[in-house]
Each structure stands twice: as C-alpha cells, then as structure tokens.
Amino acid sequence: MFPYRWPVLIPASAARIGDFMNLDIQPFISVLIVPGLLFTSVMAFLYAGMYRKVRARMQNRRGPPFVQPFYDFVKLLSKESIKPEKSGMLFTWAPIIALASVLIVPILFPIGGLSFAGDLIVVIYVLNISAIMLAVGGFSSGSPFGAVGGSREVTQLFAYELPLAISMVAVAVKAGSFSLTGIAEAQESSGMFFYQLPFACIAFLSIIPAKIGLQPFDIPEAEQEILGGPLVEYSGYRLAIFTFSNQVKYFVVISLAVILFFWRNWWQFLITGFLLWLLFIFIKIISARVKTDQSFVFFWQYMSILALIDLVRVVI
C-alpha cells in the first residue's frame, strides 16, 4: 500500500530534496511523476481496463483481464507499423502530437501540478489539438474511410465546442479565476459547483461522450459504418500511440469534469472520477450511435441553451 497522502507527499518531499540541492525539481516531478506522465499513464490504463471489464460484465460476458489495455499497448509496439504510400509526414506525427497534447493537461491538475493564471484556456485548446490530430491523421491516411472519419471528427468538434466553452466560462466566472487551481480552491471554500451551476454541469457532462468518442456520440470512429474512421489505416506503434492517447483522454476529460464541478479534495477527486466513468460506461452500453446532424441539433439547440442559462445566472 502507498502512504495515505502519496500524491501530495511525493511532490512535497521532492521539493525538499530540491531545496537541499539548491535546485527546484518540483516542476520535473509534476511533469514526469504526479500528476504527469507516470500517474496519468497508470490511470489511463486503469480507466481503459475498467471500461472493457465493466462493459463486458454488463453485457453478460466475462471480458478480458483488467490489464488487457496495457498488454495490447505493448503488443502493438512490437508489431510492424505500415505507412500507406499516399500518406504524408503528418501520418506519423498526428498520433505523437495527439498523445503529447493530452498528456499536457493533467500537469495542470490541482493535485500537486503546476498552475498559472489562465491555464483553463490552455486546457480547452490543448484538448482540441488531440481531436484535430485525429482528423488530420484520418485525412493524411489517404483512405476514403479515414477522410470521412476526419471530416466527421471536425464536424463533431464544431458541434460540442460551443456548449463546452460556455459551460467552462460559466465556471470560471463563478470561481473568479481562469486557473484550475483557482477553481478548485473556490469550490473548497464555497462547496461543489455542481450544486450552484447544475445546468452548466449537465451540459459539460453531455459533451464528454463526444469528446472521448463513446456512444451515443462515437460518430467519427463508427466501426460498422466507416471501419474505425481515422484509425482505419493505422497499425503498429502509430496505432498504439493513438489508442493510448484516446485512453489518456478518458482519464483527462473525466478528471476535468470532476475538477470543474465536483472538486472537494484529492482523494474524492479520484473516487468521483471512477464513479463518473462508470456512469459514462453505462450510458455507452445502453445507447445506439446517433448521426452527425442529430448530435449537432442536440449540442447547439439544447446543451448550449442549458449552459447559457447558468452563464447568464452567474454573470447577473
């Protein structure tokens, strides 16, 4: 067992060592261990394993072992990665940039991460980069399925971006801060924003399936329609990196929702994250895949209005 307060203790004691060596190593710890690369990778594999196991149990199946996503990752790394003749340089770079961009987000989390004014804006943009890279990878693969998947990904991005931005701004205005740490501190003093901004919270939660590509909004990756869309030509280590970046996205986006609306302290942050993830797995297994136009109507017509209600309430 780890010590009780390990995510907080490790950066703190590391900082003390840094003082001794007359060197500030806290940023390195934040980036590489907690809550950066190592912690996020472990959580991503945990989330992915939970996704497969829970889904299987709910469907009357046994399901693979919990560590199967990790096995798959290692297996794919050892396989040959075929690059289509027509594809460009971006075919290789898209998965790497996608993974890098999603790995930046958890560094800013208020569990011992770095923080600066306005990092919420960075989060919005950096999360979009991963979606755009998925589209770019699809377009550059030279396959019509990849191209259709890419265009669907971009359309989807336009659809959910509006309610996402509105609900995030509502939270920022309420907290009086554009940094994740500031938002978390505001909730520690005044209670969870879920109670104060319920509509914005619902709008944000409705975006999560679209953001991480689960039913009912897994339109870009629709396997039965366009064979996995942007990922159709990917194999080997490129596919491994892309899949892993998606799994990191599971953890990052869910955690973001917890920080924005359900923050209390760091251990409740982890538990709430798992509970929310269960909720989204459940929604995934009971819904079919809607179409692009239907998701557009859903996000623009209903969710944007919901988020706007709370923004107006907060501003007034």
Partner: protein, 361 residues
C-alpha cells in the same frame, strides 16, 4: 466533395463478400452500384451430378441460417413430380422446425441490426436468447444448423412427448424476451433516432421490384407464401400475417420481431396437433422420380424461396434452379439508400436481412 466509398467485398457490416459502390456528395448518398456474385459456388450445376437424396443435403448447404428453407422447397418440388402426398404428421414436423428456424433467424437479424447502429449490448442479449432456440434445435434434430430433417416423402426423425416440455419452455422464454426487445426498439431514443425515417421503401417500389418477405410486408405489400399458397400445415393453424405500412428500417425491425411472436403461436398449435396425430407416421417411401418438372415455394425467414426441379426419370435431376429471397430484395437497396446519409448505409443494407450465399448459390 464527391467520393466513392466501397462497402465490401470485405466490410464489417457485411458478414459475406458482396460489393457496393456508394457515390457520395459529402455524407449524402447520390448513387449506388451493386456487384453480386462474389460467393458463387456452382451449386445448381453440382446438383445435376448428384442423386435426389444427395441433393437434399446439398441444397441444405446453400445457406447456413435458412437451412430448412431450401430442402423443404426442393423436396416439395420433387414430391410434386413423384405425385406423393406426405403424411400430415410430417407436415407438422417440418413446420415446427421451420418456425424455430424463423425465430432464430429473426433474433439473429435483430442482434446484427442492433450491433450495426452501435448498441452492442442489445446484440449480446439477443444472441444469448437465441441460444435457447438453437439448443432446442440441437436436442430435436441433432444439429444447431443443417438439421438434415427432410427426406423425399417426409421427415427423417420424429418429435415425441419427451421433446415437448423443453420446447414449450424455450418458446415461452423467447416470447417473453422478444416482448422486451420490441419494447427496447420502440422506446430507446437513440435507436429510434437511427431507425425511424431511414431507408424508406415505398409500397409502389416494393411491388414493382417484386420484393418478398418482411421487406415487402414492412412496406405494406402483403406477400407471404404461407398465406398466399399454403404449404406444409400453415392453413391448419391460426396466425396473423404481419403487414405494416411505413417502410422504414424501424418498421422492418418491428415486422421481424412481431413475426417471432406469431411463430411461437404456430409452434404451440403444431405441438397440439402432433399430440393427436399417430406417432411414427412421418414419411412415405418414394422409390423413383418420374420424368417431369415442378416448383417448390417456401416462405423462408427472409422471404420466398423458389426451387424449380426438372427430372428426366433417372436418379439425377436434369435441372435445378434456385431463387433466393435476397436476390429479389437486393434490388430495393439502392432505393432505400438514395438521399440518406452514409451513416445510414450499413443499417439500410442490413435491413433486408441479406443472405449473399443464398443469392449467389
């Protein structure tokens, strides 16, 4: 942006190889080209080199799912040439297996449809319940598929008292579960969003293209061999022909699921009839097939199966012609697809319950 998307010969939405070239403008479908024939095995020619008895097993292997349809159509044609009337009990025995097959085929289709629109949970549930029927088929006939149930002049085995309790239980379970699935299809918002209003086949087109089976009946075109030209014992049991009007994917799903309930009704009545008919009277011997020609019609789960048999007095048929339901229905696919989006293509394509190994033979 004009683009050609190839659905098939290998595609996740198709279990069998067949090619569809979808011309799209953005996501909208503007033209569809079909190419069938990837699965041709030359069964009609092969049948001419085998005896009538061997041909029953051969035509049974035209299709893995409707493996009752082809043998019944074939044996009916041959019995007609030979001029024999098969015993009443054999008719009922054939009908029970046929309806069990219809149930498992429709459940299989419902599962695949659910999987194609992205709700794999329903797929897993439905295919689990389908096992009840397959288990009964295995207990009764010895095989889950390819039952080897028919012979010229009747059936090869009997369904006796010991089979009835298990069969009735399975029917009841499947009936109850089907009601739950009908409820799921009708009430789940995401399923409704995908199925209602997509892949519409108007009644005029359904009639003009001679569609058959649930595809036709979902467009309001009442065609069912079981009612129109009663074979086996279908005119001795009470059941309803399900005909609905809308013609979209949801209606085709509804027709198939409601037919499962009708099949359950038919099986119950057939079991009642079996209890009254003398046991063991399941086949009449047919020594030889005189020269002549005849046709056999049979309502398979997908529609009408049509067999034409010509005999020249030897042990071998001179000609066997098979027309499978999908061959009639597949002409309707372009009409369903035009104007819809690319996202609707797989489900509309699957909504005719295509069986390409029947089509190509």
């Amino acid at each position: 942006m004009d683009m050609i998307v190839q659905i098939g010969p290998q595609h996740l939405a198709l279990a069998e190889p067949e090619r569809f070239k979808i011309h799209t403008e953005g996501e909208k479908v503007v033209d569809v080209e079909m190419a069938v024939g990837y699965n041709h095995r030359g069964i009609e020619k092969l049948a001419e080199r085998k005896t009538f008895e061997q041909d029953i097993l051969l035509v049974e292997r035209i299709c893995g799912i409707c493996s009752m349809s082809h043998p019944v159509a074939f044996t009916q044609a041959v019995e007609d040439i030979a001029g024999v009337d098969i015993p009443e009990r054999a008719n009922h025995l054939r009908m029970i297996i046929a309806e069990l097959e219809r149930i498992h085929s429709h459940l299989l289709w419902a599962g695949i449809a659910a999987e194609i629109i992205g709700i794999e949970t329903l797929f897993m549930y439905i295919w689990k319940d389908r096992e009840f029927v397959l288990d009964q088929l295995e207990i009764i006939t010895g095989n889950r598929n390819h039952y080897a149930w028919n012979t010229i002049g009747g059936c090869r085995k009997d369904i006796t008292e010991e089979h009835f309790p298990g069969l009735l239980t399975a029917i009841e379970v499947v009936e109850r579960r089907t009601e739950f699935y009908i409820d799921s299809f009708l009430r789940n918002r995401t399923i409704k969003a995908r199925l209602i209003g997509t892949g519409v086949l108007p009644k005029e087109d359904a009639r003009r293209l001679c569609t058959v089976g649930p595809t036709a009946r979902a467009s309001g075109y009442a065609v069912d061999v079981r009612k129109d030209d009663p074979h086996l014992a279908y005119n001795k049991v009470e059941w309803e022909e399900i005909v609905l009007d809308e013609g979209d994917n949801m209606t085709r799903a509804k027709v198939r699921l409601l037919e499962i309930l009708e099949s359950a009704k038919i099986i119950r009545q057939a079991i009642q009839a079996l209890k009254e008919l003398p046991e063991g009277d399941i086949a009449v011997p047919v020594k030889e097939v005189p020269p002549g020609e005849s046709v056999g019609r049979y309502e398979a789960p997908r529609g009408e199966v049509f067999h034409y048999v010509k005999s020249n007095g030897t042990f071998y048929p001179e000609r066997l012609k098979v027309r499978a339901p999908t061959y009639a229905n597949i002409q309707a696919v372009p009409i369903m697809l035009l104007g819809d989006t690319l996202a609707d293509v797989p489900i509309s394509l699957a909504s005719i319950d295509p069986c390409f190994c029947c089509t190509d033979r």
